[in-house]
Symmetry: none
Subunit: 252 residues, 2 copies
DNA sequence: CCGAATTTGTCCGTTTTTGACCGAATCCCA
DNA sequence: TGGGATTCGGTCAAAAACGGACAAATTCGG
């Protein structure tokens, strides 16, 4: 059996059963466990599954299980540092737009009790956290997308229509040289684009795990964003290439 | 079973039942209690649940308890009964409007995972609770009023403009023979009025403590509401007088 | 057909996971 | 409030899984 063929069968197994047991797969495909383990590593690098002790878990199942709170914990310290740096760009007064997402969510600590500040957001969680403080919060309506707990759709775009802000803090799922800033959901992408358009200055927050990835919907290219904040683990070569595109990159 | 798989099942248990009993989970997943306890520690570190004596509780439940705990304690059992009766008027499919408020909030238990139902609400807490289920949630928002954590103002009215629903469940601060249904905040009153106007049928939920009180803003008179649900502690004389005004009163 | 590169299997020391044990801390109920 | 039951958390040992090294087998390019 060809190596690729074997890997296909492993993917097959994974999608059918949701997981792969290294030991079990080795027996079924009559190869050594080490081979399976190596295969799983390869498939993980291809983004097809996630390696865990004893085997691997199919991504489709992962997405379902990964809740907001779990994603929040992912690279949490990096996100906190990014938020800390981003916070320097929050004005004392005026209006800012804050996108939904686990990274932008970390900004909440810097947004409470700013009585001269208006925060416009489509994130339920963020609004809940700072809504009870003296900061003026405007929550964007819309259909609630369960995976991100944010308001999207036509209503959200309508609500944003007449709002203009000083700064917009935007999250991204993918940052790639070819594709620009991307996200999987079309509705969510439309909201992000509108947010960027309606702000004087726009800042994207993205930790190292987002780089080199691209998803279906581009919501901005490098020219339309003013600043990109990331953490120290992001490869410097990518950062240099982005800096060449007239986009200021800040490393937290 | 893979370790990660087991942990997923624990998260599953937690989200479904709100809590995890270490002993019980150990038996169900046929591993030692110690293993479960270690898993719970890991999951806590991932921010998925909060460790407590005897097991752990899901974070989504945790947030819920924190946000409305004090207010909800007031006449809580009465509110639960009112919600139970009100729930009989929730259609299996179609669109309903649910107002913000501690009483209407209790409806959330009956609104999760109704895939044929669309819930329109201006309550952040309600949207958060049912937004993660398969129920379609449309959040009406605008400026967030800190005391009630609800969306009000011009933006909210605009968003409601083109929405029509089968039933509206409305909360009230005061129910009085002379003043009708009242609330202190003008913005909130405007939203309630619009909600009632945009629904085929409107139901007000009010426990006994609301009767005989009146506040600045009337959002509805007795004629414009179809049904009033209250608890057994409400004085029968008031109920009789209200019934005379062509308003059906249901006692939970 | 040959040599190089890649893949695969084996070996083995290291790490991780798991279940068991036990004294201490905590909870629950009378 | 006190005592019994439960739970906790730390240590230990066995088992499983890991990963790196290396050799054998296979594939590839010329």
């Amino acid at each position: 059996m060809l190596a690729e063929e074997r890997r296909m069968k492993i993917v097959d197994l994974a999608t059918r059963e949701g997981r792969v047991d290294a030991q079990d797969a080795a027996e079924r495909l009559s190869v050594a466990v080490e081979t399976i383990r190596r295969d799983l590593d390869v498939l993980q690098r291809r983004g097809l599954m996630r390696r865990v002790h004893g085997g691997a878990i199919a991504v489709h199942r992962l997405n379902r299980e990964f809740t907001v709170s779990e994603r929040r914990a992912l690279n949490h310290s990096a996100k906190l540092k990014i938020a800390e740096v981003a916070a320097r760009h929050i004005p004392e007064q005026g209006t800012i737009i804050v996108d939904s997402g686990t990274t932008t969510q970390c900004l909440s600590a810097y947004l409470r009790d700013k009585s001269e500040l208006t925060v416009v957001t489509n994130s339920l969680d963020l609004a809940t956290e700072i809504g009870s403080s003296s900061t003026r919060v405007i929550l964007i309506s819309g259909r609630v997308r369960p995976t991100t707990m944010s308001g999207v759709g036509d209503l959200a775009l309508k609500a944003l229509e007449n709002i203009s802000a000083d700064v917009a803090f935007i999250g991204a799922n993918g940052v790639d040289l070819k594709s620009g800033f991307t996200t999987p959901d079309p509705d969510e992408a439309a909201v992000k684009t509108r947010m960027i358009n309606n702000a004087q200055e726009s800042i994207v927050l993205a930790d190292h795990s987002k780089f080199g990835k691209s998803f279906t919907m581009r919501f901005a290219n490098f020219e339309s964003v003013d600043r990109l904040i990331t953490d120290t683990k992001t490869s410097t070569s990518i950062i240099n290439e982005i800096t060449n595109k007239e986009l200021e990159v800040v490393i937290a």
